[in-house]
């Protein structure tokens, strides 16, 4: 989400100006007193820029979804830097235009290789094959670990899903902070527009078919201020998570 949190500066400006001009008659103008400085706050954990805190490097062995069906293995491209002030700019049209323009490949079945570098505009960006240790894939953690920009970013995602048999009438289900778009086997599956929170199953696709064998999922997540983040899984026709899948990166 894009939150211009607790606008203290405007409020303090308001207090000062109220005192000067109005005599102050609102809650904001009632003697706030001095704001105390923050006490010393020791660091509570490891702040080094390392992927291993929240991710493991994806192995060649296939990986099942987690116990709730969430896909934790992704090829993740280093962030495309974007100048985004507020997340409520993520309209359908904005997302389609941006994802089309800031794209590494218009072939939505293309599967990059771990460590490969691709160009997006004039930025050379590297792919990482990672397993998230959580149900979600926290892109803030990813970019922090790489010491790359954490806010105002677009991140491309790819994963490969092996399905032991064809499954019809599944739905892709995702939540993200803040906007995203998803493709399955080269076809657009869903669009998450607006200033969204990372909420499991926040948006689902129309009914899809997972082919027997290899299925390629492409995603793009974009975020301004706040913590870029997403989670994704497939739901069967009864709404239960699809777990009989194997995830790989090539």
């Amino acid at each position: 989400m894009n939150r211009n949190r607790k606008p203290l500066l405007p409020i303090l400006s308001f207090i000062v100006l109220s005192g000067l001009q109005l005599g102050g008659l609102t809650a904001f103008a009632q003697g706030p007193g001095p704001r105390i400085p923050l006490p010393p706050i020791p660091l509570k954990g490891d702040t080094t820029h390392t992927l291993s805190k929240h991710f493991t490097v994806a192995s060649a062995t296939q990986k099942a979804p987690d116990a709730e069906g969430f896909i934790q293995r992704w090829l993740v491209l280093e962030p495309v830097k974007k100048d985004i002030v507020r997340n409520n700019i993520f309209t359908d049209n904005y997302l389609r235009t941006t994802f089309s323009a800031d794209n590494f490949s218009s072939d939505y079945t293309f599967v990059p290789k771990n460590g490969e570098t691709v160009n997006v505009g004039n930025q050379a960006l590297k792919w990482y094959a990672l397993d998230s240790k959580a149900f979600n894939f926290n892109l803030y953690h990813f970019t922090y670990a790489l010491n790359k920009p954490k806010y105002g970013i677009l991140v491309w995602l790819v994963t490969v899903i092996d399905c032991p048999e064809e499954i019809q009438n599944v739905r892709m289900a995702a939540g993200c902070n803040s906007g995203s778009m998803w493709w399955l086997n080269g076809q657009e599956a869903m669009l998450l527009s607006g200033d969204r929170d990372m909420i499991a199953d926040n948006v689902t696709s129309s009914r899809l078919t997972l082919k027997k064998g290899r299925n390629i999922v492409r995603g793009a997540v974009i975020n301004g201020p706040g913590m870029a983040n997403f989670c994704m899984r497939f739901l069967d026709e009864k709404g239960s998570p699809v777990k009989n899948l194997r995830i790989r990166i090539e």
């Binding site: 211009n4 109220s18 809650a27 409520n88 909420i199």
Partner: protein, 480 residues
């Protein structure tokens, strides 16, 4: 930086164009309000930036509250004979480094000689790297254990739960934070019927009428969670069932606070990010809490209109005790062929029956609802500046007339020929936790008793002490 500049400009602009409005009294402008607390007959709430609002009756709010320390998003809870005030030292700093402090006061009235805050103590911090912002605290005293709990956090990562010492307000020795939700703000806990409810705000704030703030809830049998929503989704996965969202021109509700007035009468204090009727400014809101199927939802501030007033006891309707006037009987002849054209039959009109009514006071009864003029009541905000927590007093008159519902000195209820504005003709209407309503006169003449409109037997309205456990005390407003 663009955001800061824009915000400053917005503030300056708002200041310039609203000086006249701000100079008026009784305007509830606040952001991130604490739970409304009662102290010595007055109501208080504190907001971001310091200070707060005071109300003599819970309806009309003024500035004047005093909370030192600046910062943001306080909460307040009465524990024993003291008030514990808790607040974030920052307003959600860009680096997510923050601290939450607690302090005590014997009174919330800044004019009281007892008004003095204790030295604030730090109970939670965020170091700028962890997935948590140490702001937006909410506190709850567990009625089953007497233990004091605080949740805090924002959209930046997790909402966390810690335990405080209810005697000192300090962090309980050895306590470690527990993650209970993600991407929430302004959380607080409520206990009810064996469940702990975590209420929190999702969406975006601080963008005026574009703010998407809304309050959601999950529940757990254990204070430490997991807090699940109505579809079984954990709040650690973003789950949450809607409690209150934007309503009309009141946009972006957030910062839920729970107020239990008495059994069956509960309210929530919130702010709206923007009230379009008041220039889009952030305002305090108070709504009834309704519990439906074990979940809290926002009730409705009573809407003016013309209603049947239905007794929950049997479903009969409040009516003038006047002669029943028959309507013309329509075509009869059941089973007989009738090819006459079908024409609508006119409803009975007030003018058809009013001429036969007494001109002085008329008693009331409760009877079968027949959609007749003596059963229709027009309820409007009374021309009176006073109110109660969450609403104004209402004038209740027979539709199309000025004949007003009034309490009598012998604790009965009648109608008088004309509304005079006397306090016994002013009515408080509270939506109850089951969604029905309580109707109370502002005063009962020559009586200090707090009485409500009740149904004695099926057919006799009277005034008596309110009993939430009895349907005699409950009413519905039907708009047919």
């Amino acid at each position: 930086m663009k955001r800061m500049n824009a915000s400053c400009l917005t503030t300056l602009f708002a200041l310039l164009i609203t000086q006249t409005t701000f100079a008026q009294i009784g305007r509830p402008f606040i952001h991130d309000p604490s739970t409304v607390a009662e102290c010595e007959g007055k109501y208080y709430t504190f907001g971001t930036g310091g200070g707060g609002l005071i109300s003599n009756d819970g309806w009309t709010w003024y500035g004047g509250g005093v909370r030192p320390g600046g910062g943001a998003a306080p909460d307040v809870l009465k524990i024993g004979d003291r008030y514990l005030v808790v607040y974030g030292a920052t307003g959600g700093s860009p680096n997510h480094k923050g601290a939450i402090l607690t302090m005590w006061n014997k009174t919330l009235d800044p004019k009281s000689p007892d008004f003095k805050y204790s030295e604030p103590v730090v109970v939670a911090t965020s170091d700028g790297y962890e997935e948590n912002d140490a702001i937006d605290p909410g506190i709850m005293l567990d009625p089953t254990t007497g233990r004091l709990w605080m949740t805090y956090g924002t959209y930046f990562g997790y909402t966390r739960l810690i335990e405080l010492d209810p005697k000192t307000g300090k962090l309980k020795a050895g306590n470690k934070p527990v993650d209970v939700a993600i991407v929430c703000e302004a959380s607080t806990l409520v206990y009810r019927d064996g469940w702990y409810y975590l209420l929190a705000t999702h969406g975006s704030c601080c963008d005026g009428a574009n703010s998407t703030y809304n309050v959601v809830v999950g529940r757990s049998k254990k204070i430490t969670g997991p807090y699940l929503d109505n579809v079984g989704r954990s709040m650690l996965q973003g789950g949450g069932k809607m409690v209150v969202a934007t309503r009309g021109g009141l946009i972006g509700p957030g910062h839920f606070g729970h107020i239990v007035l008495e059994n069956g009468v509960e309210k929530m204090s919130i702010h709206y990010e923007a009230d379009l009727a008041q220039g889009g400014r952030s305002v305090l809101g108070i709504l009834p809490v309704v519990w439906k199927d074990g979940w809290p939802i926002a009730g409705e501030k009573f809407k003016e209109g013309t209603y049947e007033i239905e007794s929950v006891r049997r479903g009969y309707a409040l009516e003038l005790a006047v002669d029943f006037t028959r309507m013309a009987v329509g075509p009869r002849g059941f089973g007989q062929p009738n090819n006459d054209p079908i024409k609508p039959a006119p409803a009975q009109q007030l003018a058809d029956v009013q001429k036969n009514w007494p001109t002085g006071p008329i008693h009331l009864r409760i009877g079968d609802y027949m959609s007749r003029p003596h059963q229709q009541w027009t309820i409007t905000d009374a021309p009176d500046s006073t109110g109660y927590l969450g609403g104004p007093y209402y004038k209740i008159v027979l539709a199309g007339t000025d004949r007003a519902l009034a309490a009598t000195a012998d604790a009965e209820v009648i109608t008088v020929p004309a509304f005079t504005g006397a306090p016994e003709q002013l009515w408080r209407i509270d939506q109850l936790t089951d969604g029905t309503y309580r109707i109370m006169p502002k005063t009962v003449p020559n009586s200090g008793k707090k009485l409500a409109l009740v149904s004695s037997g099926d057919s006799t309205p009277t005034l008596a002490e309110f009993d939430y456990n009895s349907d005699n005390s409950k009413w519905n407003f039907r708009n047919h």
